[in-house]
Each structure stands twice: as structure tokens, then as C-alpha cells.
Symmetry: C2
């Protein structure tokens, strides 16, 4: 089986142009098949403020009303996605920017929740591996924006970590898939303020302990839940670490590995 790297880049890197440029150069240097998934960063929040559209967050998830959906579609699938593609093209990497509606790559449904109305938030149903494989085998690097659709004409805002996980899972049927969550920190840290306290590996058992001890909390919990879900669904390896150390993450010299045991 050929290797495929599914690489998620976090919002804080996108907000920092120097770090983003460094990351994109590292991404181009990664040999072989690769797909990039990007988050949104603070640009959507900033644009919403400029337009006077109030933003509500619950557990780190944006409540997506109609105006907010318009904003995230513009910012994620438009501004961020196309700028990343143009930057990759300038470095000789043949990138193509897609959202989940394009080629019906990711179909989702509007989130059902008993007590919270998340608005136009999408939970993933299916990943169309055919087009992703066809583009990848043509040497084209797909760059995914975290917007999906329900195949009934509705775009839906979808968590980028989840998209990375779902793509990695689906592509595991075709490739030895490595899922890399790259963000501003060196990995999962014992002390969130100290980048030297990286936990090298986390098993399901140690994850439970780390949560009980509140070493892992808040935004890291959905990220790690996604990582374990991917691992349990056929993804070969999941690594979490620093965007500027992408090469080291790929070569297992850095970051936190999520492992079975």
C-alpha cells in the first residue's frame, strides 16, 4: 500500500503569516501523496465583528447562523483556501482547493442536538474517495476547506479536525494513511505553558488518566477524541505536533503519537 499523509493545519498558524509560509514550504518538501486540511483562524471572527454579526461559541464550536455561514464560506473556502493554493503553486506544488460540496467530496447533515441549536453545522456522513484518489494519483495536492454540504443545496460549517479524521479514515481503505494534526504547540503537553513537556505517546488507557488528572482538557479533548476515532478506524498513525516541525512529525522525531497500546 502506498503512503498518504493527511495533514491538518490549525487556525493559529493560518493567522501568523511567517509561520504559515514556513509550514507551506515544509508541506511542499513532504515527499509522496498528501492532502492538506486547513482550519479557519481568527479571520472569520474578525470579519464577523467588522460586519456586526455576533458570534456565539459553545465548547469551542461556533454556532453557525445564516450570516455566520456566509462569513465562514467566504473566509474558509474563499480567502484562506485560495491563498494557500496560490502559495503552494508558487512553490511548484500543484494544489487544488476544494470544499466538501466540490465533487461531492464530503457529504454531511445538519447537526442534531437535543438541547443546543448549532445552526448550519455539519456532521460528516460520507467521504467520496474516488475524486480524492484520482486527483492525488495525478500528483495534485488537495487543499480542503472546512465547509461541507448536505447534497440538498445547503452548505454546512464543519470542524476541520473532524474533516481530517474522516478523510484519513476513508482513505485508509486505499492507502497506508498517516494523519498529522499540526498546530502551534509541540504536541500534547504535560504543562500547557511549556513546549518541552511533550507527551511522546498516548494510549487509550493513558488518555483516560490524563483526562481524569485534567492534564488534557478543553479544546484538546475533541482533537484527541478525533485522533483515537481515526486510529480505531484503520488509520495507520496519528501524530499531533508543531506545524513548523512537519518533517520531524512525519519522521516520528517530534510530537505526540496516538497509539493503540
Amino acid at each position: 500500500m502506498n503512503k498518504l499523509y493527511v495533514i491538518k493545519i490549525g487556525g493559529n498558524i493560518i493567522d501568523d503569516d511567517v509561520k504559515l509560509q514556513m509550514f507551506l514550504s515544509s508541506f511542499v518538501a513532504v515527499e509522496g501523496r498528501k492532502i492538506l486540511i486547513h482550519g479557519g483562524g481568527k479571520l472569520a471572527t474578525k470579519l464577523a465583528a467588522q460586519l456586526g454579526v455576533e458570534q456565539q461559541m459553545i465548547d469551542g464550536r461556533r454556532i453557525t447562523d445564516a450570516e455566520t455561514l456566509k462569513i465562514v464560506t467566504m473566509v474558509y473556502a474563499g480567502y484562506i483556501n485560495k491563498n494557500i493554493v496560490a502559495q503552494l503553486q508558487s512553490r511548484g506544488s500543484n494544489a487544488i482547493g476544494l470544499c466538501g460540496a466540490d465533487g461531492n467530496v464530503i457529504q454531511s447533515h445538519k447537526r442534531h442536538h437535543t438541547s443546543i441549536d448549532y445552526g448550519f453545522a455539519g456532521d460528516v456522513d460520507t467521504v467520496n474517495t474516488g475524486l480524492l484518489q484520482s486527483l492525488t494519483e495525478q500528483g495534485i495536492n488537495v487543499v480542503m476547506a472546512p465547509i461541507t454540504h448536505n447534497k440538498e443545496g445547503q452548505l454546512l460549517n464543519t470542524n476541520a479536525d473532524t474533516i481530517a479524521q474522516e478523510i484519513a479514515q476513508a482513505m485508509s481503505a486505499l492507502y497506508e494513511t498517516h494523519l498529522i494534526y499540526s498546530f502551534e504547540k509541540a504536541g500534547v503537553l504535560m504543562n500547557a505553558a511549556d513546549d518541552s513537556t511533550v507527551i511522546n505517546s498516548i494510549t487509550p488507557a493513558s488518555y483516560k488518566t490524563l483526562k481524569d488528572q485534567q492534564v488534557i482538557y478543553a479544546g484538546m479533548i475533541p482533537k484527541l477524541d478525533n485522533a483515537f476515532a481515526a486510529l480505531h478506524s484503520g488509520v495507520h498513525r496519528v501524530v499531533i505536533g508543531k506545524a513548523e516541525q512537519l518533517q520531524e512529525l512525519i519522521h516520528q522525531q517530534s510530537g505526540t503519537s496516538i497509539v493503540h497500546e
Copy 2:
């Protein structure tokens, strides 16, 4: 040679949701290979006003400063493009939304002009027919936003009529290409206020006369210049007419045909 329809839809249709939905249903009903190119409409102008970014137009072309480029990238390649794709998907048409940077489909350069600084406006250099053909032959309908790039990391705002023309010309090497400019009017009119005064066909000679008589003026001139340029560069047929009459335009029962003689 197989037929290919390159269909441009104008901004005024995009601004009118009822007309847009009708047009998209007609587009889905067009049998065979087809590529859709959309303009921008008033949404970018409206967003610029909301954000306090002043807009300057010269001869119907927007002067694209850095803030305006950000706005048109968001609106054209994000909001409009992805909503059209989602609508087409809901009608069972497998669409994919691209801008010129994606897959390096359209490479351009920043416009040079002796007296006017158009800002980040792109003039087309090359169309990458390979990816367009590969997607088309997979039964995927490409939906192009009027944003291109210079392969040096710079996105550029590019006239959608020109993109339609350049794609039609380039694809003429591979297909019997029909270029259809669809907009809010029934064609080129003798009397701009009366949709019943459609000129059925225009030759290079009658074009000159119609311009001299000022029957054709303002925004129609670059549109017709593009149409004749396409015709002189291998495009099989160019038709200009009403978006709601797409089927009739395709079957030569409506609109203005641009012909050699």
C-alpha cells in the same frame, strides 16, 4: 470532435435568486460536456460598502486594491462559487468549483497599463486544459470563479467574460466548443430597453457599423470584443442571450449569434 459548452452567467442573474435557480436547473438539463463560468454580481460591491472599502470602476472594470482583492476572493471564489456548486449537487449535477489558482488552471499576470493602475487585476496568459479535460471526461462540471493567479503566489481579479473566452479558445483544440454568454437580456438589442429587438447575428462588418451608430456601447463592447476574439481563435460558435433561455440559446432558437460572415 465532442461538443463542449462553455457557459458564462452574468452578475445580474447571480444577484436574483429566482433567476439563478431557474438558470441552474436549465444548466443541469444541458446534455453533454459543460463548464460554467460565473461573474461576481453586486455582492462584492455590497460587502465592500459594509466594510468601508471604497470601490473605483473604470470602463466597467473594478480597480482592485489589496482590500478589494480580499473581498472579491471571498465573494467570488468562496460564497458565490460554493453556493452554485452546492445547488448543482442538489440537482444531481456533479460540479466542482475552481478558481484559476486551483490546479494552475488559469495563469495570468498583473495588468500593465501606461496610465491606469488597475491594481490586482489579472490578464490571462495560459489555460491548463489538461485538468479541465480530465474533470470533464469524468463527468464533473467545472464551475469557475473569476479569480486567477500569477504562479508567484499572487491571486488576481480577472474579468469573467475574458475567462470564458480564454477557456473556450483553449478547449477548442480538444472539443467543438460552443461559448454562451448568458445574462439578463435576450441578446444584443437594437433598443437596449426592448427585449424584442434582438439582433439575430453580428458579423465583424455589422459590429463596426453598430458601434459607429452607438447601438452597441459601454459594457457590451468588451463582451463582443471577447466574443469575436473567441470566434477568430477556433471557437465553433458564440451566442449571447438570456440566462433563462439557456436551452434555446444552445439550440440556436434565441439570442444573438456572433458569426464570421
